[in-house]
């Protein structure tokens, strides 16, 4: 079994975001970057499937500037076998990024191509499904269960009020959701071994595409709360405000 995991580098979810001069990107100074948290489910799934099979190869692929190499090494430290850095500037247009990834994955002999269900910085949710379409492979998004048997995959996804189960033949593309697994931490030996694992750098040119970022704006500061009173005596005033001001009742 040969598995590719496509990885994005995203700011740590606790990072304080500052918009850079120009207003179309974030200021990366002092911001800690981590593997996109949903991609960690994909990494864990790939490593666990290989461990279970006892054979195969896991490859992590990322598109972007050289800063993504540290993120790729985090995946290697967790246990992925090999990294590929598609060196180039990602587009704001998910389709162009999907084309670059699909061009690399195509012909690689992969049985599975895994993504996170979305990247926590732009919430695009496009790339995985687009890569599947470009490769003309079956796709399921936001999976919370994955089993492989006899060349077929069985997956589950959470749907309104229940769980949907689907099966398809391999190769296939899946995007991974929380609940799929519990991603491992990189071990200290894994961190030391990561430097010695194969790491390919392949320059790519990504077209600008049809989408450009016009501006980035931080959400407005939340207004301070209001305390209307204490204990049971405050309930009538609170009820009235929920009806008249907040309009939630």
């Amino acid at each position: 079994m040969k598995i590719a995991v496509c990885l994005r580098r995203t700011p740590d979810t606790t990072a304080k975001i500052v918009i850079a001069a120009g207003g179309t990107s974030i200021d990366e100074t002092g911001v800690k970057f981590v593997p996109n948290p949903y991609d960690e489910y994909a990494i864990e799934a790939a490593i666990a499937l290989k461990e279970k099979a006892g054979a195969g190869e896991t490859v992590v692929v990322a598109l972007g500037a050289d800063s993504v190499q540290e993120t790729l090494r985090t995946a290697l430290a967790m246990g992925i076998d090999r990294a590929v850095h598609l060196q180039g500037n990602a587009s704001a247009d998910g389709l162009e990024n999907a084309r670059a990834l699909a061009d690399h994955v195509r012909g690689g002999g992969y049985d599975l191509v895994l993504f996170g269900k979305l990247a926590v910085d732009d919430y695009g949710q496009q790339t995985g499904a687009m890569v599947a379409e470009l490769l003309e492979l079956p796709c399921a998004t936001a999976i919370t269960m994955l089993e492989i048997a006899d060349g077929r995959a069985t997956v589950e996804r959470e749907v309104e009020g229940g769980v949907e189960q689907a099966t398809c033949a391999l190769p296939a593309v899946f995007t991974c959701d929380k609940g799929l697994n519990n991603p491992r931490l990189p071990s200290l030996k894994g961190i030391m071994a990561a430097r010695k694992k194969p790491f390919d750098i392949a320059p790519v040119t990504v077209a600008a595409g049809a989408v450009t970022v016009a501006s980035l704006v931080l959400p407005p500061e939340r207004a301070a709360g209001r305390i209307v009173g204490e204990g049971a005596a405050a309930v009538p005033a609170l009820m009235q405000l929920l009806v008249s001001d907040a309009k939630v009742i």
């Binding site: 606790t14 981590v34 593997p35 071990s187 200290l188 030996k189 030391m192 430097r195």
Partner: protein, 396 residues
Amino acid sequence: MAGSAEYTGVDFYDMDGLLSEEERAVRDTVRAWVDEHLMPVIGECYIEGKFPKQLIPGMAELGLFGANLPEEYGCAGLNNVAYGLIMQELERGDSGIRSFASVQGALVMYPIFSFGSDQQKKHWLPRLASGQEIGCFGLTEPDFGSNPSGMITTARETADGWLLNGVKMWITNGSQATVAIIWAKTGDVNDASSIRGFIVPASTPGYTGKDQKGKLSLRASDTSEIHLADVRLPKDAILPKSAGIKSPLMCLTQARYGIAWGGVGAAMACYDEARRYALNRIMFGKPIGQTQIQQERLADMLTEITKAQLLALQLGRLKDQGKATPARVSLAKRNNVSMACDIAREARRLLGANGILIEYHSMRHLANLESVYTYEGTHDMHSLILGQEITGLAAY
């Protein structure tokens, strides 16, 4: 999810910029482990006075034991800065957990690595790295703490091995250890040059370890008394390259090095808690962080932590170059633990009445740090070691 934890450390002087990618990765992985596995249980362990044994396999799997020893023995082969960062992050959680890892690595694995035979190394180090065996270090005795050369535990050579007799006290991990490194005199009790190290399986008849009760500090760590009553060991139980009091002191230098980093971790935890509390606690209609008295507290804490971080880091770089002399290690242990005690106390005070509760961490750190201040060379002994370094005159 790694990296999503709320605690983000303290880095005012871009220490991260002085660390390699691997060093940062090691720090982050241990920090995430502490968040996920230690923080949820530490309060209860502390109150109940029990070491969280269930965490040992996970610690071993991450590679936290003897992490700066070579890979051929199942260790991670990290440099000393990465090793120090592990100690910092563990002590951010609790000094008792850091003590456990310090003892296993610096006081049990290190002496076997440094003074052991090839056979001893091959047998013991992988088992200790994997947590299959838990070790302790028996040097201190009831009447010989700061003066270990005066020990009265003896090892007498017999026809087929060794016979050990004596009592060791204040032994971290002592009651749960499966193997002990015991230091004893093979010659006259006045002859410190006859001190040798012995590998003593806890199952050996005559060996007993029992918990010391009534501790108000390091409650999530086992501290024990070890009795050695006619303990018979085979000939190859001796660490062949150990020679005199210098050998156990070399181990202590390793452990003290880690403690210098650990103090930074505990201080960072207390500062982080105090800063958050100062912003959220409203008194007289404004956050207490808006009062000059708390701002001065926080400014002092940040200043001292930043100084201690740079001290620990440079000591680590020196250690990697083989230049971390015992006196240099003493300076960092003395400064950083004393600094951490001060910060823990001030943080607890800033937290007001809430600061005495186990839900907050500063008082637990404060109580722990009183032990850390006292063990591995008391603060006062390190003053004398430095005094001797400066003047060439020994005052002890």
